[in-house]
Symmetry: C2
Subunit: 228 residues, 2 copies
DNA sequence: ACCTGAACACCGTTCAAGT
DNA sequence: ACCTGAACACCGTTCAAGT
């Protein structure tokens, strides 16, 4: 793996970081470890990357960059285009579970993130959304992609979820949690469930645009106050 | 702050950890620092907490615990109850931005998380959702709460978002990103936008239950394949 | 029983020094 | 110009030792 003869570049550092996270997870990615992976002292990396934070930001953007390209986004109507992007983002993130934590937490905006935001936004604007609603729509789509995917990736194996989950499966907690004791044993397919969520969101966006959403269920203001 | 006379307990350690994260952020929370905050050596904490991971899990559960209590969940129909929980979760997390990272990433299920899942699930079951759809519904609600809130909290100040965002505001990137250049300047109220998302999701759940969602926009399978 | 001190095996990052 | 070695200021966690 380590070829110290090739000159170090920003891209070689980035690719090695992605490869290391892929093979051993995010917690294995330290500057020192990354250095040895590249056959170089850790301190040499700082010639090509300002610090670890910037490297993580670059990793996020490299991943998000793949969400939008000519093959990925079909020449369909706005629903089809947004659905395609949402499905591709989901597939990319589930293939690299360590990336979800990064993508969810890092606020830095790079080229990849901008291209993705632009694709969603123009699809909505072309579909007749007002700029205001398109702005909300982008956040709704973005929040759905990140949140729903994170929520699915969080359940990698039932074994890692804690003793309570086993007890639930065995029906030992029916008295305390009657509802989940029933539903937890239901068939659960990630791809199918995500499709449902994507359809729900796109349908909801169309209804929002057309003024078909029922009146507010609540402003939220009262709940905010009740915390004080 | 440090009173070494009071005996250390699990709860005192937990409360101190929450207070420290509140005042100085999650990155300030180290076992050593937490020890000095309690007037004790770091190693004494291990008498009351197996390790740092377990402490973080306990912090998450303490926060989620507050999402469900008698005052917070009104005696309303399922829409009102789910909306109330979603709004309360949102308010709690925006008040403790450091908690979102934790809540989104930690898979461990404790009492608080179970009570929250149970409240959502029973609301859906009572509203006539099949167990299968209630299961999906819980994940849809959960994904929305976490994802949408994380997405909003990620934008604490425009200043921290990077140079690109400033350029967008100034209209310097209109050629590359025409869509976002238009929408980025739109009015943006977090509470209002979240209300929109909550209404959209609850309306979508009702339509899902009643079989009113339009046919699939895509199964996702083709996008998954195109990654290979 | 509860807390401590020293130690171990790590971190990210700096900086003067080497080639 | 590019890389290195030693050093600094931290981590989480262990374990034998103290009271």
């Amino acid at each position: 793996m380590a070829r110290s003869r090739d000159a170090l570049t920003h891209d070689r550092v980035l690719q090695a970081a992605l490869a290391l996270a892929d093979s051993e997870g995010l917690e294995a990615l330290s500057m020192r470890r990354l250095g040895t992976e590249l056959g170089v002292e850790a301190m040499s990396l700082y010639r090509h990357v300002p610090n670890k934070e910037a490297l993580l930001d670059a990793m996020v953007d490299a991943i998000v960059h793949d969400w939008i390209d000519d093959e990925a986004v079909p020449a369909a109507d706005w629903r089809g285009r947004i659905a395609a992007i949402m499905h591709r983002a989901h597939a990319t993130l589930l293939a690299r579970p360590w990336a979800i934590e990064l993508v969810t937490v890092r606020p830095r905006v790079g080229d990849g993130r901008l291209r993705y935001a632009e694709a969603i936004t123009t699809a909505l604007l072309e579909a007749g959304f007002t700029p205001q609603l398109a702005h909300h729509g982008l956040h709704i789509v973005d929040g759905t992609v990140m949140g729903f995917t994170a929520q699915q990736a969080r359940r990698p194996s039932a074994a890692a979820l804690g003793d309570r989950v086993h007890a639930l499966y065995n029906g030992d907690l029916t008295a305390d949690y009657p509802g989940i004791s029933v539903t937890i044993r239901e068939h659960h397919d990630h791809a199918e469930e995500y499709s449902l969520m994507v359809d729900l969101v796109i349908d909801g966006l169309a209804r929002l645009r057309d003024g078909l959403l029922p009146p507010r269920t609540g402003s939220g203001a009262s709940y905010v106050l009740s915390l004080a």
